[in-house]
């Protein structure tokens, strides 16, 4: 393995933090979903790195599952966002306080 495992983990951690920041701080629903996707991908990188590190296929299979879940999540999430935009006319999560 050319790239050391610690570098892979560091990359995954940085990506995860970026995704977290994106999900928490951005005031746009689409950007929040994007942040969640980034966090999922960070986890996937960590899995792939681990599977290479220990020469085992389980990590890669987890990544396949994560990709599938991410795809469905994006489709459902975008559908909800479109519907919410139609209801309120805004992407701001602060506007969705009808149930409050």
């Amino acid at each position: 393995m050319i790239v050391p495992f610690s570098h892979v983990l560091m990359l995954a951690g940085i990506l995860f933090l970026l995704g977290m920041f994106c999900a928490v701080a951005r005031r746009n629903l689409i950007m929040i979903v994007l942040g969640v996707e980034i966090m999922l991908n960070a986890a996937s990188i960590a899995f792939v790195g681990a599977s290479v590190r220990w020469q085992s296929l389980e990590g890669q299979s987890f990544v396949l599952f994560i990709l599938a879940v991410a795809a469905t999540e994006v489709s459902v999430g975008l559908a909800i966002i479109v519907y919410a935009f139609r209801r309120t006319g805004s992407f701001d999560p602060g506007a969705y306080n009808i149930l409050r």
């Binding site: 999900a23 928490v24 701080a25 999560p93 306080n97 009808i98 149930l99 409050r100």
Partner: protein
């Protein structure tokens, strides 16, 4: 103690004597309320059997060597065991007979007095309840059982005083009697608890025995004696709590007779006699009792000197006679107190029943009006009243003379002559007020106001000649009681032997100047009668008492020394405006405010928490991440 109860005649008699009135009470209330005659019959049969059993017990145990006690376990806690049963000793046997006897006579008398009253059955039911409570009180082996029946006596007297409940004053009087005796009973109960805490049980024999000294320090003894005496003060209408008794005259007259002679007020003195050895352990307490007895005796005598209501005069005289008994007991004259209790039961019942007959026939309580009604034409009650009043004043051949001399002897035995002087003054006043009533009643106003009283006298002549048909029923108890009053005094020495034969070996005989005390007392009571004769009796008498010549004094006595006004003021100012206001404020501000504050706090807290839940999913996400980070920090490092 395992005794097969049917074989033991004593126990059987005790059970019968104390249970039957209750049975009759229940039967009357449940079954026969609609049939007055049957109810009265039931009640009288029950009380007759009780009287028979009581007499049987007295005769059988005339030479009682030591108290007999039958108990069964009633309540057991870890360290305390409270039995229930009977304790037969001389005092209780004597009192049992007195109570049963007076109850019997009063119930027979009530057949006439209450005839036609629509509450006839109810009346007899309450009378039975009263008799039951008092009979059980006399035989209680523990002070707790005594307390229970003590309260029942209070309850039934409340029911009977307020018997004519449509009359506002009657219900008020009943309430007053109940509340004022309760005030004393609270102290009594605290005293009970003190005894329980320090002695470990309620047993009367143990309280009277050496265990009391062994387990209780002198201070505690004094405290508990004073507290228990609080109950006596309430029940026997002594000084601070005396004003309920005159108001209790609102009840039917036979009830007053019962209340005053044998049941309600006598219970207090009886308790004193019952716990006499216990009380005498504390000299301080005994001095306080002596003072209270003296004060109430003198106060009540002065009140009796001015009242015009015949029943109220006797009510005051009851207070003062009870004061005498308490003085005697507190002075160490155990026999004197108990004996006066017995004789007083006889002649006070007689006084009330005679007055009741007059009131029944003429419909008024006022002695001057009774005189105008020529009530002296009714020979039997007049003569009986005379006998009773003479006994009350302590004139020689009658029972009151003997017991009063015994009391004076007990007082003379004290080192401080003040008590004796007060007692002698009391004797004088007693004779004066008793014969004031007698003279006023038996010598109607001379015809100075003849033109006014003419229609009265003709009407009363009409009344006098046509006596009510129930007159005979009512007269017989009077005659029996009069006989008792006349004869009881001659049984002084056997009774003394019976009561104190074992308790005290022999009393020190007074000598020297103290031997004159009986003559002095007699002379004073004769002087009292004489003064009454001069002022009310003789031809052309002014019919104005010496007290009435001094208006402020008269007002003071007639207003009962303003004790009632003081209470009213006290209740109004201190309780209504002071303590109640405080409680009201406490309720409003502290309790309500506290609860309101809690509610408001909850609401405000909800608001604050709701701010977090403002629909901002990102906050939640943030919180989730923060928690995750913190948890991972916690788990991994």
């Amino acid at each position: 103690m395992t005794i097969f109860w049917t074989e033991d005649a004593t126990l059987l008699a005790a059970i019968l004597a104390t249970l039957l009135p209750f049975v009759s009470f229940v039967l009357i209330m449940v079954l026969t309320r609609a049939r007055p005659r049957l109810s009265a019959g039931l009640s009288i049969v029950a009380v007759t059997v009780s009287l028979g059993c009581a007499l049987f017990l007295l005769v059988r145990h005339w030479n009682l060597q030591r108290p007999i006690q039958y108990t069964g376990r009633w309540l057991a806690s870890t360290s305390v065991e409270i039995p229930f049963g009977f304790l037969l000793d001389p005092v209780s046997l004597l009192m049992l007979v007195v109570v049963a006897g007076i109850c019997f006579l009063v119930q027979v008398y009530s057949l006439g007095y209450m005839a036609g009253d629509y509450g006839f059955s109810r009346y007899y039911a309450f009378m039975s309840l009263f008799a039951w409570a008092m009979l059980n009180l006399t035989l209680s082996p523990t002070i707790l059982q005594l307390y229970i029946f003590w309260e029942l006596v209070g309850l039934s007297s409340y029911l009977l005083i307020g018997f004519w409940y449509e009359k506002f004053s009657a219900t008020q009087a009943g309430k007053k009697a109940f509340v004022m005796t309760r005030a004393g009973d609270v102290a009594f109960f605290l005293g009970l608890l003190t005894v329980l805490v320090h002695l470990g049980n309620f047993n009367i024999l143990e309280m009277n025995g050496p265990q009391a000294v062994a387990h209780m320090s002198p201070a505690i003894l004094t405290l508990s004696a004073l507290l228990v005496f609080g109950g006596i003060v309430g029940k026997s209408a002594q000084f601070p709590l005396m004003t309920w008794l005159p108001d209790a005259m609102e009840g039917p007259t036979p009830v007053s007779a019962l209340l005053h002679s044998a049941t309600m007020v006598a219970a207090g003195v009886y308790l004193f006699a019952r716990l006499f050895p216990f009380f005498s352990l504390s000299p301080t307490a005994m001095t306080v009792f002596l003072a209270i007895g003296t004060i109430s005796m003198l106060l009540a005598s002065t009140m009796a000197m001015v009242d015009r209501d015949i029943k109220k005069v006797w009510a005051y005289s009851t207070i003062s006679q009870l004061g005498f008994m308490i003085m005697a007991l507190a002075a160490g004259g155990y026999f004197a107190g108990a004996f006066h209790l017995t004789t007083h039961a006889g002649f006070k019942a007689l006084l009330f029943l005679c007055s009741g007959l007059f009131i029944h026939c003429h419909g008024t309580n006022d002695i001057y009006e009774l005189a105008n009604h020529q009530c002296r034409r009714q020979r039997i009650p007049t003569i009986c009243l005379l006998i009773a009043a003479a006994a009350l004043s302590g004139l020689p051949p009658l029972s009151g003379f003997f017991s009063k001399e015994a009391i004076m002897a007990a007082l003379a035995g004290l080192s401080n002559p003040v008590w004796l002087a007060a007692g002698l003054l009391g004797v004088f006043m007693t004779a004066y007020y008793a014969f004031r009533v007698i003279f006023v009643i038996s010598f109607p106003k001379p015809p100075a106001k003849g033109s006014e009283s003419r229609p009265d006298s003709s009407a009363s002549g009409h009344d006098g000649s046509h006596l009510p048909p129930e007159y005979c029923v009512m007269a017989w108890p009077l005659i029996i009681l009069a006989l008792i009053t006349v004869l009881l005094g001659f049984f002084e020495s056997p009774l003394k032997h019976f009561l104190v034969g074992r308790l005290i070996a022999g009393e020190a005989h007074e000598s020297g100047a103290l031997a004159l005390v009986p003559y002095l007392a007699l002379a004073l009571s004769v002087a009292g009668v004489g003064l009454a004769w001069i002022e009310f009796g003789r031809r052309g008498a002014a019919r104005v008492g010496f007290v009435e010549r001094i208006p402020p004094l008269h007002k003071l006595f007639a207003e009962r020394w303003y004790i009632d006004d003081f209470y009213r003021l006290f209740v109004d100012r201190v309780i209504d405006r002071g303590i109640s206001t405080l409680f009201y404020e406490n309720d409003n501000k502290v309790i309500d405010g506290g609860i309101d504050g809690m509610c408001k706090g909850t609401v405000e807290g909800g608001r604050i928490v709701a701010l977090l839940n403002s629909g901002m999913i990102q906050y939640r996400l943030l919180v989730t991440f923060a928690v995750m980070v913190l948890l991972s920090l916690y788990f991994f490092f």
